[in-house]
């Protein structure tokens, strides 16, 4: 069993892990707004922002430079722990238009607690030589960030690779040549349906370091329990916003259900503050409410897992039940279990 609970020291307080960072769309020119959730979900005082997007949105950036605090701009509470990634995912098809220096400056300016280093994500469609080049480039950028960073904030080296050796080797290399508080695995979103590969990569990373391990982009309902099981310390997700955009109602254990498929119902089956007091129609017709419920769904999934651990329940047996209903995720979990057992 690789599940673990730690405390991560940040400028805005100690963070109990494992933890989810809901992705905030601040800085993006997007019609979807992240609702206020850090007040209503007490154990979710966390947010993931995109440093590059914030920096590139001029009027907003000017406000930050004039002294407006990010947390105020986002409408989240003062003690929210903010993870600012570099926005590397936006470089999927473009060349890198930022530097470690510029990214660090942005991360500092917005008072982020956790810094992700600048990275160049991989694509499954790339030639291998191109992906190898990107892997090396991300490592160089991370090492430069390590040299430049000397603050109290948590610095996570971004690591990419589509095979266990590369990920292990990259982490060992960063560990040897740089000074990081932990590592963050990227580029897994494009291969997320290949559960076996993703599991192997995460396990390789988990074995390569005892430090904080973050996985980018896979914190949705399906992956969350798997990541917890594999000993990942933090993860992020934008699934709650994207799902709400499609009028999808997230239910732990089932995934997302388009509400348009649901007829004639007085109340939804969830006990969160959004659903428990409102009618089905009210939630269905208000996208903000849907987003809020979806955040709750993710938070509840995490809570349930933590509860099972705290109650000293057999987590593998719990996950057997958790994944029983879906052939795909059941298979994924079985693969993960085999691999974990081989290790321990």
């Amino acid at each position: 069993m690789l599940f673990r609970q730690q405390a991560l020291e940040t400028p805005h307080g100690d963070l109990q892990t494992p933890v989810l960072f809901p992705v905030s769309n601040i800085g993006k020119r997007s019609s979807d707004n992240t609702p206020e959730y850090t007040e209503s979900v007490p154990d979710l005082s966390t947010a993931m922002v995109n440093a590059r997007a914030i920096r590139n949105r001029d009027p907003q950036w000017e406000r930050f430079e004039d002294g407006t605090p990010l947390r105020e701009e986002m409408g989240v509470s003062e003690d929210t722990v903010v993870f600012a990634d570099s926005g590397g995912f936006d470089f999927q098809d473009e060349t890198v238009d930022t530097t470690p220096a510029k990214t660090l400056e942005t991360q500092q300016q917005i008072d982020a607690d956790i810094y992700g280093t600048v990275d160049v994500p991989l694509s499954r469609d790339n030639r291998q030589a191109e992906n190898q080049r990107r892997i090396s480039e991300s490592i160089d950028l991370a090492l430069e960030a390590s040299r430049r960073h000397n603050g109290d904030e948590v610095l996570l080296g971004s690591v990419h690779g589509y095979d266990p050796e590369t990920v292990r080797n990259s982490i060992q290399h960063l560990e040897r040549e740089g000074d990081f508080d932990g590592y963050a695995i990227g580029s897994l979103v494009p291969i997320r349906t290949d559960y076996e590969k993703v599991t192997k990569i995460i396990l390789a990373a988990r074995r390569a370091t005892d430090k904080h391990l973050h996985v980018y982009g896979l914190g949705g309902l399906t992956y969350q329990p798997l990541l917890l099981y594999l000993g990942v310390d933090s993860f992020d997700s934008s699934a709650f916003i994207r799902s709400a955009g499609n009028r999808n109602y997230l239910i732990p254990g089932f995934g997302g259900e388009p509400l348009k498929n649901v007829e004639e119902l007085s109340h939804l089956p969830c006990a969160c503050p959004v659903c428990s007091t409102r009618t089905f129609k009210a939630v269905r017709n208000d996208r903000d409410l849907l987003v809020q419920h979806n955040v709750w769904a993710l938070a509840l999934e995490l809570r349930r897992f933590r509860y099972m651990a705290a109650a000293d329940e057999d987590l593998e047996a719990y996950l057997d039940l958790r994944f029983a209903g879906n052939e795909v995720t059941k298979r994924a979990y079985r693969l993960a279990k085999q691999q974990v057992r081989r290790l321990t």
């Binding site: 030589a129 080049r133 095979d163 266990p164 080797n169 290399h173 040549e177 192997k200």
Partner: protein
């Protein structure tokens, strides 16, 4: 000796003969690592000369060892192999028989080398690249592996360069990719399958960006040559290939036989350096090859023939085996007598395989019948009548 002998060793007590067991192989198949070799001087001289010439000049040289069934061709090849295999500067592979053509020969050769050794070569090549591309100085496969495991070098820096350089050296980019993929746990079995010409599905090849397959004699010659060129680049002196039971090509259709010989000829032409092939072949088949395929036989001008053993050789052979299990101070051919061995020689007509088989049975019978002292004429004849 093979493990299967141990059981009968426990059942029978050879101590009355001053022996800890029966040293003669029961099985007619020569041991993979023969401990005793009763060399015929002209044969060992010619083999030594061929092997030494390749080792000292780096120029390719090949030899055919002919001999009738049971006269020790396989034994000779395997014994030579075990001697050459101990050297660190050569790669040695044994092919038990030529199969249906060069593709099969290639397959057996790579298979005999084995996955672990091939993976080591992959790491050795990465080490070669690391020595020029980084300030590290790994001297072999295991030090390269620890550099990677410890993160002292970056795989992502080395791999593209390694693939490029290996492609330049081998002129076979797919081969280069397969070699490098031997170090990745996700793909190493696919890479191995490809390298052994076992065939791979499209998706499996795609994962490694491999576009072709080793699926005929031509591509097998190309892959073999690529492997040899990689080894020369790594500082190896050469590759030794032992092809046993070459007479089986006579069972192929004339077209396939010609194709096989042509492929081997191409292989020899493309590998003027660093290649030594030793064939074991029945004399009559080799004579046919010589007369019908001049282009082929010209390239293996050398032939050396194994003869039936003489009395003196039989002594040396039997003594060699007995010495493996001596417990008291006895020597020579004891417990066999001169007369006893005479009978063995006559009955076997000097055929090694038969000599060993008779000696083995005689010794066991002597123990079973509670003889002690010497094994003479009478005892041998008695056993032969039962065989």
């Amino acid at each position: 000796m093979s493990d299967s002998f141990t059981i009968s060793d426990e059942q029978r007590d050879y101590s009355t003969f001053g022996l800890s067991g029966n040293p003669f192989p029961y099985s007619p198949v020569p041991d993979d690592e023969p401990l005793v070799y009763c060399g015929q001087e002209d044969v060992t001289d010619r083999i030594s000369e061929t092997v030494s010439s390749v080792l000292s000049t780096g120029k390719s040289k090949h030899l055919v060892v002919t001999g009738k069934y049971g006269n020790g061709k396989s034994h000779t090849l395997k014994y030579t192999r075990s001697l050459v295999r101990d050297r660190e500067d050569v790669l040695v592979g044994y092919v038990a028989q030529p199969g249906d053509g060069f593709l099969d020969i290639y397959h057996e050769f790579v298979y005999d080398i084995g996955f672990d050794r091939m993976q080591e070569l992959s790491y050795e090549f990465l080490a070669e690249v690391a020595r020029t591309e980084t300030d590290r100085n790994p001297m072999g496969a295991s030090s390269m592996k620890s550099l990677i495991d410890d993160g002292e070098v970056l795989l992502s820096d080395l791999v593209p360069t390694a693939v490029q350089r290996l492609s330049d050296v081998t002129k076979f980019a797919d081969f280069a990719r397969a070699i490098v993929h031997l170090i990745y746990e996700d793909t190493n079995l696919y890479a191995w399958q490809w390298l052994t010409a076992e065939g791979l599905r499209y998706e499996q090849r795609k994962e490694m960006e491999i576009h072709s397959a080793i699926d005929d004699d031509t591509s097998a010659v190309r892959a073999f040559t690529a492997l040899k060129n990689m080894l020369l680049e790594l500082g190896y002196t050469g590759v030794f290939m032992f092809v046993d039971e070459f007479e089986r090509i006579a069972q192929l259709s004339p077209k396939d036989e010609q194709a096989t010989l042509n492929s081997i000829r191409h292989l020899m032409d493309q590998n003027g350096n660093g290649l030594c092939i030793l064939f074991g072949c029945a004399p009559e088949v080799w004579q046919d090859v010589m007369s019908e395929y001049h282009a082929f036989s010209e390239r293996i001008g050398q032939e050396v023939a194994l003869q039936p053993l003489t009395e003196e050789k039989v002594h040396t052979l039997v003594e060699g085996y007995l010495n493996l299990v001596r417990e008291n101070g006895s020597e020579g051919i004891e417990p066999f007598t001169e007369e006893g061995l005479q009978v063995v020689l006559q009955r076997s007509q000097g055929n090694i395989r038969q000599i060993l088989s008779i000696c083995s049975r005689v010794l066991d019978d002597a123990v079973d019948d509670h003889h002690s002292g010497q094994i003479g004429e009478e005892l041998v004849i008695g056993t032969l009548e039962e065989m």
